[in-house]
């Protein structure tokens, strides 16, 4: 059992050293590098480490969490990310502005209409470009549809991680309808690649509109079904109410955004806090809850779906005529400068900080992913809870590893 491992020395990459750690331990085979790591890997009596992931049914992608547990109770934890890291910021620096759109697409693979918007909006801001109003409305339509698709999946995932089999499938039925609709609009089901610098790729078509009309006629009913199935279920409520409570100050201190922040009562929604596109012409509420627990986060998602349906209704009534692409140069070279754009994705604030040096490549493209900041909350929410609750908390934060690992 005491098979020792040989690891590369941290000081000299050519030297291999025998590590006291065995292959069965979660303890890293090198001395601790920071204060926090030393504290975490120092085990007291009765504590043990357990690897949750990277291949675990409910870690939402390849996330590894090292749990320090005492019996069933989680004492401390250390999330390890980076398994999906592909260096998208560096890739964007080496491609043109158009390349960045499809490179940013798979960041948030559950709702990629938002992540692909980042380079588009940033470049438009650098170019001081006026996007046609019809294009703006189509964008809002696509965003809100995608938000519903993402939220439908969230509701399913949360109950799947709590052991319920059925809601995830109902969620997927709902999502599939929307995804098919967007497929008719954009030509892809998951990574849409639809937004363009200066507009969108293609106007609304008949197929999309007929599917949308079909869906709108029973969208509210689908939400109602989900509500019936799980919202008041005593087991579900018992599992999530009072679990993973965040208060306002902590949420602000932890840079949480999106439904996580709104579940604590702070109505911070970029669509209202800092309106972009045509959101200031549309009427909708920012749903909030006061409790800040997993159940509140769930209910915020449910309410947001209703608000999104309301927004889509307005967009369809107010859709102006016109073109869907602005006139843009074939070869985009923005003036040197910096821009910060930010939109409200289903998980919170998606942001991009871009720098241009006047060439056709971005000089620096920084993507601010909401899941990245939201996920760092787990270190504060989990200690003291049971192992079973780690799933409920993690699912209620709704992380998407593609965006976290970039």
């Amino acid at each position: 059992m005491a098979q020792q491992t040989r690891v590369r020395s941290l000081d000299d990459p050519d030297v291999f050293v025998e590590s006291p750690a065995t292959i069965y331990d979660a303890v890293p085979p090198y001395p601790p590098r920071t204060e926090r790591e030393a504290e975490f890997y120092h085990l007291r009596d009765g504590e043990m480490l357990i690897n949750l992931g990277p291949q675990h049914p409910s870690t939402h992608g390849v996330l590894r969490v090292v749990l320090k547990i005492d019996g069933e109770r989680v004492v401390d934890l250390d999330p390890v990310i980076g398994y999906l890291h592909r260096g998208v910021e560096k890739i964007c620096e080496n491609g043109t502005w158009h390349h960045a759109i499809s490179n940013c697409d798979p960041l948030e693979y559950v709702a990629s209409m938002f992540s692909e918007a980042m380079p588009v909006l940033a470049c438009e801001k650098l170019l001081d470009l006026q996007v046609p109003r019809r294009a703006e409305y189509i964008r809002v339509l696509a965003w809100e549809l995608n938000r519903i698709a993402s939220h439908a999946l969230f509701m399913g995932w949360l109950s799947l991680d709590l052991g319920g089999l059925t809601p995830i499938l109902y969620g997927f039925i709902e999502r599939d309808e929307i995804v098919e609709m967007l497929n008719a609009l954009t030509g892809q089901r998951v990574l849409f690649n639809y937004l363009r610098i200066g507009g969108v790729n293609g106007d609304l078509n008949h197929d999309f509109m007929s599917r949308l009309g079909d869906w709108m006629s029973h969208a509210a009913e689908q939400v109602e079904n989900q509500t019936k199935l799980i919202n008041e279920n005593e087991i579900f409520v018992g599992r999530t109410r009072g679990l993973g409570v965040v208060d306002r100050a902590t949420a602000l201190r932890m840079c949480a955004t999106g439904p996580v922040l709104r579940a604590t009562g702070i109505p911070y929604d970029i669509r209202r806090a800092h309106p972009y596109s045509v959101y200031n012409e549309l009427e909708f509420d920012v749903p909030t809850r006061e409790e800040g627990d997993s159940y509140a986060r769930y209910l915020v998602h449910v309410d947001e779906i209703k608000q999104s349906i309301h927004i889509i209704d307005q967009v369809l009534h107010q859709m102006p005529d016109g073109t869907v692409m602005a006139k843009i140069p074939r070869w985009i070279r923005p003036r040197p400068g910096r821009a910060w754009v930010s939109i409200e994705s289903p998980r919170g604030q998606y942001g991009a900080y871009v720098m241009s040096d006047g060439s056709d490549h971005p000089f620096r493209m920084r993507i601010r992913d909401p899941s990245f900041f939201n996920l760092s909350l787990v270190g504060h929410l989990m200690p003291g809870n049971l192992i079973a609750d780690t799933m409920a908390i993690m699912a209620s934060l709704d992380p998407v590893m593609g965006g976290i690992d970039k």
Binding site: L10, P28, C255, R364, R366
Partner: protein, 183 residues
């Protein structure tokens, strides 16, 4: 479009700590400070009742080719503008900045990311280790003197493919390939 009142407030309140004039473009107000003033400026921005920048929207590192920067984006309900704080002029050899984790604990991971990608040391961060790259990785990928994967072995940190060290072309030196910002 930009918020002039905010500009005036910042100028009066932070006078002496700014490296240049308060600038504004689009919907963003921008200030530049030195590394020494980060703690006091950030505390002021966070705590001052007229400012109350409670939300740290983003924290990232930048390599301009000449110097390192750390860029913060803040949001407050007192102004319609975003506030961008640039910590400018960090030396490329040994960039060090005070951490803002005492105000925003959630900045911890963002600081780890900036350390991982640029090698910027955030003093006061308790957990400053690599976050994306493996722990025995030796270079900083987003620096401008780091090349693409094929060139990784030629990076100053010697990359991750030891065998490729033998095929190093003599002209591929970092200073020859450095792309510098024209900002």
């Amino acid at each position: 479009m930009t918020d002039n009142a905010l500009k005036r407030r910042l100028e009066t309140r932070l006078a002496g700590q700014l490296l240049g004039p308060v600038r504004a473009r689009h919907d963003t107000t921008e200030i530049r400070i030195g590394a020494a003033n980060v703690t006091s400026v950030m505390s002021t921005l966070h705590d001052e009742p007229q400012l109350r920048f409670e939300i740290l929207a983003d924290l990232c590192g930048v390599d301009t080719g000449d110097a390192m920067q750390v860029v913060y984006h803040l949001w407050s309900e007192t102004t319609p503008d975003w506030l961008r704080v640039i910590v400018d002029g960090l030396p490329r050899e040994d960039p060090r900045v005070p951490s803002v984790t005492f105000l925003w604990k959630g900045g911890e991971w963002a600081e780890r990311e900036a350390y991982d990608m640029f090698g910027i040391i955030f003093e006061g961060n308790r957990d400053l280790r690599r976050i994306y790259m493996p722990p025995d990785y030796a270079s900083f990928p987003l620096r401008k003197d780091f090349y693409l994967a094929d060139d990784a072995a030629r990076s100053p940190g010697q990359g991750f493919r030891h065998m490729e060290l033998t095929h190093q072309p003599p002209e591929a030196l970092p200073e020859n390939l450095l792309r510098r910002s024209k900002l």
